[in-house]
Each structure stands twice: as C-alpha cells, then as structure tokens.
C-alpha cells in the first residue's frame, strides 16, 4: 500500500520535472524573449519560475507565512523578555527583596485559572466571583512576599505590572505553539489562520508592552477614565472605604445627593464596583433614583479617542461578574442604570492616559449633571460609579 503510494508520488514528481524540462525546451525553441544567447537563459528562468509557482505555489506561500510568523514570535519573545526584565527591576527597586525574586516571578508568570464547570450554569457567577477573589488574594500575597518593602498601593501597581508581563508571556507561548505546530504539520490552515490573526495579536502585545511601562511608573492609564471622572466629583469631599477595594464620597448636585464611587487609588486597582453598589444601596434601603456608570469603552476604527457616548445599562468590562451584581441590584430595587463611556483603542486603554481622554472628563461631568437634572428631582439619591483601573488616581 505504502509502496504503491510512494511510487505514484515519485511518478507524479518525475512527470512534473519532465513537464518543466519539456516547457523549458519549448521556451528555448520559440522563446518569447528572443531565441539566442542570454535570451535563452531569461526564457528558461521565466518558464521554470512560472511552472514552479504553479506546482509549488502553496508551499512557497506557506514558507513565506512561516517566515513572517517566525519574525513575530521573535518579536513577542523580546517583548516578553523586556517585560520580565522591567518587572524584576521594579520588584528589586521597590520591594528590596533579600532573595532573588526571579523564581517567584517565574512562578507567577506561569499561573493559571481553571474556569468553573459550565454544564450546569446555575450559580456560575458566584463560583467565578469566588475563584477571582482567591486568585487576586493569592497574586497579591505572592507579590507582597516577593517585594516585602512595597506599600499597598505599590503592591497594586506591581500586581498590574506582573499581570501585563503574564499576558505577554501567555501570548508568546500560544503563538509559538501554533507556529511550531504549523511548522511540524505544514498545515496551511494552521499557518494561514495564525498569519491572519497576527496583526491583531501584535497590536495587543504592543499595548501590553506599553502597559508595563505605565504600571512601572505609576501613570494613570486610559482605562481609568471612569475613575478620573469619579475622582473629580469626589474632590474635597470625605472618602470612606466600601466593599471591596472601593471608596465612596458624598456630594451635592443641584439639590440631589450624589454618592460617587471608584476603586481605591493611587495603586493600580479596579475594585469590585458590584459589591460597592450593593453596599451603598443596602445602606440607603435601595432608595436611589438613578445609577450612572462611567467607563472607558473600545472605539471602532475611525472613531476619535475621547469621544463620549451615552447609553443604558451597566457599563463595566471584565468577565461579567460585577455587571451581573449591578444588574441584579438595579432590577431588585427598580433603579434605572445609565452609562456614559469614553471611547479609546485597546492600546490607549492599557497605556498612559492620553490628553484627549483627560480632556473628556469635564464634558462627562457636564453630561452627568444634565442627566441628574433631567431624570431626578431635588432630594433624590444618585449613584455615580467611575469604573476602571485607578492607577495614578486618588
């Protein structure tokens, strides 16, 4: 069986080679580029390349794609190494560890989370929430152990920094896996699929590379647009801690009580806005006239950075546990939820906040005031939740 297969393959190849020779002979005799001297060479080259592309075209394309992917894998590896080096440097500078932090960091970079089983989806949000709590607590305590001298806000920034390095490490490993698989099997489907997604993967990797720099320096990032708006509302007011890793401050807008909420800064932290909103609503017996959520949102290509949009519903990202909680509470008490988003790209969301995003904060405050005036009456309670990473923002 195998012998038959091989012999037919060899036969086909010989026929192809013979065909090439045959056409080369015709090329030499008729010659579209003339029929003497150097022209013969050009004729042969033309025909040989024509038939070579016809027969081996797909393989040539696959090889070119693999070369491109190889370049991307190397670039990703460099990005991963740079992020790791920067993280180690910051861990040493801030944490002043007595031992070498490299093994600890390596272990964090290889950490994983197993999703809860979804065959019976009832109660999956609670399970997810629990797993995320455990993961965050372990991550933070591991970082605090590696960097013993770091203050709590610094631990938060280090946690974000390690997470960005983790993302780069994961991306590198997945792309390398698919590249080696494509090389091993020479499957055009694996190779071309990876090549098709590569520009997007590289953009995301570059974004995470920028994020490592932002977290290392403690800059506010684009995702913190909501936190910035809430911070502006809270300015000069007394802040109190609420559930979980969140702060709240009460202010007055046109005779309405406004409670602004955001994650506790200035360390990189997103908090648990769902829990915070639940606590504030319970403290006020669910008597809120409106919840306004401000968050960063991904813009579509062609949209301007810093553009503001209004909508209905809980504006919050993540895997959905916090959104679930907010929707539950809002439905339970019959409170309308409004969303205001500041548009930005994925790169802008995880790198140092751009001027356009900062400049969008004041118009967002104006919109919040307008919403409050239009939809509530004097004496009402309004919750304004500034969602997002509060790195560099108090």
């Amino acid at each position: 069986m195998f012998i038959t297969c091989h012999s037919s393959l060899i036969k086909r190849k010989l026929e192809e080679i013979y065909l090439l020779g045959f056409f080369a002979g015709i090329a030499l005799q008729t010659g579209i580029f003339g029929s003497s001297g150097l022209n013969n060479l050009v004729n042969i080259l033309f025909f040989v390349s024509f038939f070579a592309f016809m027969v081996f075209g797909q393989q040539i394309q696959s090889r070119i794609a693999l070369m491109q992917i190889d370049g991307a894998v190397r670039k990703l590896e460099n990005m991963r190494n740079d992020a790791k080096t920067l993280t180690l440097k910051i861990l040493r500078d801030i944490g002043k560890p007595k031992d070498d932090p490299t093994p600890g960091l390596n272990s964090l970079l290889e950490q994983f989370l197993i999703d809860p089983v979804s065959m019976d989806p009832a109660g999956i949000v609670r399970k997810f929430d629990h797993l995320l709590d455990v993961r965050e607590a372990k991550f933070k305590s591991d970082i605090a152990r590696i960097a013993p001298e770091a203050t709590p806000p610094q631990v938060n920034n280090l946690e974000n920094l390690v997470e960005a390095a983790w993302a780069l490490n994961y991306m590198f490993k997945v792309v390398r896996h698919l590249y080696l698989l494509g090389k091993k099997t020479f499957s055009i489907f694996v190779i071309f699929q990876l090549q098709a997604f590569l520009p997007q993967i590289m953009l995301e990797a570059e974004a995470y590379q920028g994020a490592t720099k932002a977290f290392a320096e403690g800059h506010p990032i684009g995702d913190g647009a909501g936190a910035l708006v809430a911070s502006k509302l809270m300015r000069g007011r007394e802040m109190k801690k609420v559930e979980k890793d969140m702060v709240a401050a009460e202010t007055t807008v046109e005779g309405r009580r406004v409670i602004a909420l955001k994650a506790e800064g200035p360390g990189g932290n997103v908090g648990k806005p769902g829990d915070a909103i639940r606590q504030v609503l319970e403290e006020n017996n669910g008597k809120a006239a409106m919840i306004v959520m401000v968050d960063a949102a991904l813009k579509l290509e062609g949209e301007k950075t810093g553009e503001i949009s209004e909508g209905i519903g809980a504006a919050i990202g993540g895997i959905g546990t916090e959104r679930y909680k907010i929707e539950e509470e809002a439905t339970k008490f019959g409170i309308p939820v409004y969303a205001i988003v500041i548009k930005q790209s994925i790169q802008e969301a995880v790198t140092t906040m751009k001027k356009e995003i900062v400049e969008a904060a004041e118009p967002v405050l104006e919109r919040i005031k307008r919403l409050i005036l239009e939809r509530t009456k004097e004496g009402d309670l309004v919750l304004v939740a500034g969602i997002g990473n509060t790195a560099g923002i108090v």
Binding site: K213, G218, H219, P220, P266, K354, V358
Partner: protein, 128 residues
Amino acid sequence: MNSRPTTFYAYLLIAFGLVILGISMWAMIRALSYYDAGDYPQFFVYGVMASVGTVLALSSITQMRRRMMVLRSLAIKVLSVVLCANCGFKVVRTFSAGDYVAKEVGKCQQCQGAMRVDAIYAEEQKSK
C-alpha cells in the same frame, strides 16, 4: 518619563533604500537605451535588475516608514498638570515619580492655596 526610541537606524535604512532606488532608476534608463539600440540581451539584464531593485527599495522604504510611525508613537512625554483650586493657577510640568491625580504638591505661588495634581497624561512628540 521620557522614552525616546532612536530613529537613527530607520533613517539610515531609508537612505540606503533611496540609494538602491536611484541605482535601479539608472539601470532602467540604461535598459531603455539598450532597447533603443537594439541590444536586447543587455536590455533584459538591466531591465530585470532595475525592476527587482525598484520593488525591493520601495518595499523596504515603506516598511521603514511604518516602523518610524510606530517609533514616533512610542516617543511619549508624560506631563502632570498642577492646579490651584483657589485661583486656578496652572503649572504643566514633566511627570515625576510618585505623582498621582489629586496629590497635594505644595502651595500656590499666587494665593498660597493648595496646589494639586489635576491630571497626568501622555503627549506624543510632535514631528519636527
């Protein structure tokens, strides 16, 4: 933080690409002159050389241009805007480690009110 990735090598490679493009153009002119003179073998040799050179030079220049755009976008300057809530006196200065929004950073030069960091943002370097 001021990160200014060097664009020297990108400029050098663009210059190299331009030189190759120049040589290709010269080869193309030669090829055309051989064609006029009826020397077809020389025309083909120079023609192929010029075509290959032009394609390679244009491709490398385009790639370098794209790379330079990426480098330019990485060259960011982070600024802190410090504002006096009393009189509105504003100072825009380079971000310094430890800055965060709403941090008190001293007294106002004009009214002695508290100066706070009002915003921190990245500003892209303007092309010269």
